[in-house]
Symmetry: C2
Subunit: 351 residues, 2 copies
């Protein structure tokens, strides 16, 4: 618990006083004021977060955290749970969606096992921070113990700290875990207070009957466990997952280091809600990369007050949407750093 | 006219038969089917356009065409027309928004003068294809002669062909011309048949009274000139601009070479509508980069049946939205080219 406590203690309010000053600098650049829309907003947010006037986003990292979910016993997913370790090997081999999109963005990928149900073969790029061999079936009992929930968050912090030694200017959250849209829907329903039907989507692609079943399982999990909507750790332990806890820890650790965190889709937003419940100040460190096709994602983002940058009908997870959004955030920062001013370029101003 | 005729003759229907085959290949990749949404659609479109199974988008070019507009006499813009040449020099010095965003996308910038009102200082990277020293005031008379309209389109084709020698895999359209949202609004209103009020926006940032004036000027220009809504060249010559004609030529030339054209915002969409009126087959070669803040842009895109990739509240022009979208289109193509299949990665398929 001490690592978590120390991390939380380091999280400060972002410096809102820098927004006006940065906007003024943006307004001197050779373009009509405000004409670069969200790029300007993103540049301002990165300055507020980092407190650096001309931030460089050279070191970009996507963290992909993997774990299994006991609730897959209830047949809530279209894919067998063996896919979790298989996909981890795919990440390590560089063949998954996130590998392609991270390479495209010039980002590193950090792959960690927070709780895959089997022992994974060692690999130099695989970070083992396993809390346990998958969660318990939340439809029957709590997904994990309180100690495990704290361990998951702290292992997320440790994963961050290891990678931070290599340099990080901006990071993204990514996930892998068959069954994790089920856990995420439960978390989002509990925290936002919305109906499970509104939040629950089709995950990797289930049919109507399976969707109905999934809704019932989530309702049952909430009923059996009665998570406290105000207590992030209580929600995590009762209806969460190890990778979700790890991502929450990652978000807290990044905020403590004044780094912008680009969150991916549905699962990442559930993790962001957990982190927000633990320490509300993290909210301003978050950049929502995209609006997922997963039903209920918008509800989670609205609750956090975040506007997604992209809407590309993605529903893959792994951090893929976040990797795509890196390019847009970086573009905003480059506008601030590299564009000429009206004066330096000898361009007449608005009459 | 012969260059235009020859170019049109070379434009073929894109090969729709490649869509199903490409989707099948996408469905073998290690992700739930369709889970990369628009990235998959973009990959398919690029294959259909290029007829290359694994297209490489290495050579990316943003064409920025500049020209002046006689209608600025009517005080329709927030900026003086001197800004057109000043911004061309800014492009050449590398300090404008498009320079920053093209560098970020790994794209070249081709800068051409289609009709700036002054003689520009020579520069090795400035391509002079001037049709005339700005258009006439369309509120009083036709913006240009028929011969000039054809010349503008053909100069756009020539601009493309010069740059094509250096290699182009994908291109973007960009514009610079004080007053060109006025001409573009007129074109879009004529072609779509919608009211001028619905189409006319604030351009670089005018107030309510100036907006009302701008609407009246556009209505007057249409009334005075009576462009034929079915005749792209007639519309261009009566209420268009030299850079808009040049961009229409660029689009036709690219389609003739089976290249995907990423169109920027409001002005580029007006040019795309002109090209579409000249040869409807070009439509399938177009990729809409973003939804501009300029009112009426959505109407133009809907008319062309195009869905914008981004919605970042941009209204700068220059090709900035298109340069940002390059990254997304390229991501789609890389997914197709680089992701592992379920079989090659040893990942179990959907049960």
């Amino acid at each position: 618990m001490s690592l978590l406590r120390e991390t939380i203690k380091k999280i400060e309010q972002i410096d809102n006083t820098l927004a006006a000053e940065t906007q003024e600098r943006l307004d001197f650049l050779t373009k009509p004021q405000g004409s670069l829309g969200r790029l300007e907003e993103l540049a301002k947010q990165v300055v507020e977060i980092t407190r650096i006037k001309n931030p460089q986003l050279k070191h970009k990292v996507v963290f992909v955290m993997a774990a299994d979910h006991g609730v897959t016993e209830e047949a809530v997913s279209a894919y067998p749970k063996e896919v979790t370790p298989q996909m981890v090997y795919n990440f390590l081999a560089g063949g998954a969606g996130i590998n392609v999109l991270a390479r495209h963005a010039g980002a590193r990928v950090n792959i960690s096992d927070l709780g895959v149900a089997v022992d994974l073969n060692p690999h130099v790029e695989l970070h083992i921070h396993k809390v346990n061999y998958g969660t318990k079936n939340m439809a029957q009992e709590a997904a994990m113990t309180k100690q495990e929930a704290i361990q998951a968050i702290e292992n997320g912090i440790l994963t961050f700290e290891e990678e931070f030694k290599k340099g990080i200017d901006i990071l993204a959250t990514g996930d892998m875990g068959i069954g994790n849209t089920t856990a995420s829907a439960a978390i989002i329903a509990v925290i936002t207070g919305r109906q499970v039907e509104e939040i629950t989507g089709r995950g990797t692609g289930i049919d109507d009957a399976s969707w109905r079943k999934k809704v019932e399982i989530i309702q049952k999990a909430i009923q059996v466990n009665k998570p406290d909507p105000k207590d992030g750790i209580d929600i995590l332990l009762k209806v969460g997952g190890f990778e979700i806890g790890g991502l929450a820890g990652l978000i807290l650790a990044a905020a403590a280091k004044r780094l912008p965190v680009v969150i991916d889709g549905f699962i990442s937003s559930a993790a962001a809600l957990i982190a927000y419940r633990i320490e509300p100040k993290v909210k301003d460190y978050l950049i929502a990369s995209h609006l997922s096709q997963e039903k209920g994602h918008r509800i989670a983002l609205d609750y956090l007050g975040l506007k997604p940058i992209l809407d590309l009908h993605l529903r893959l997870g792994e951090g893929t949407g976040a990797a795509l959004a890196f390019s847009i955030v970086e573009a905003g920062v480059k506008v601030l750093n590299e564009m000429a001013t009206f004066k330096s370029a000898g361009v007449s101003e608005k009459s």
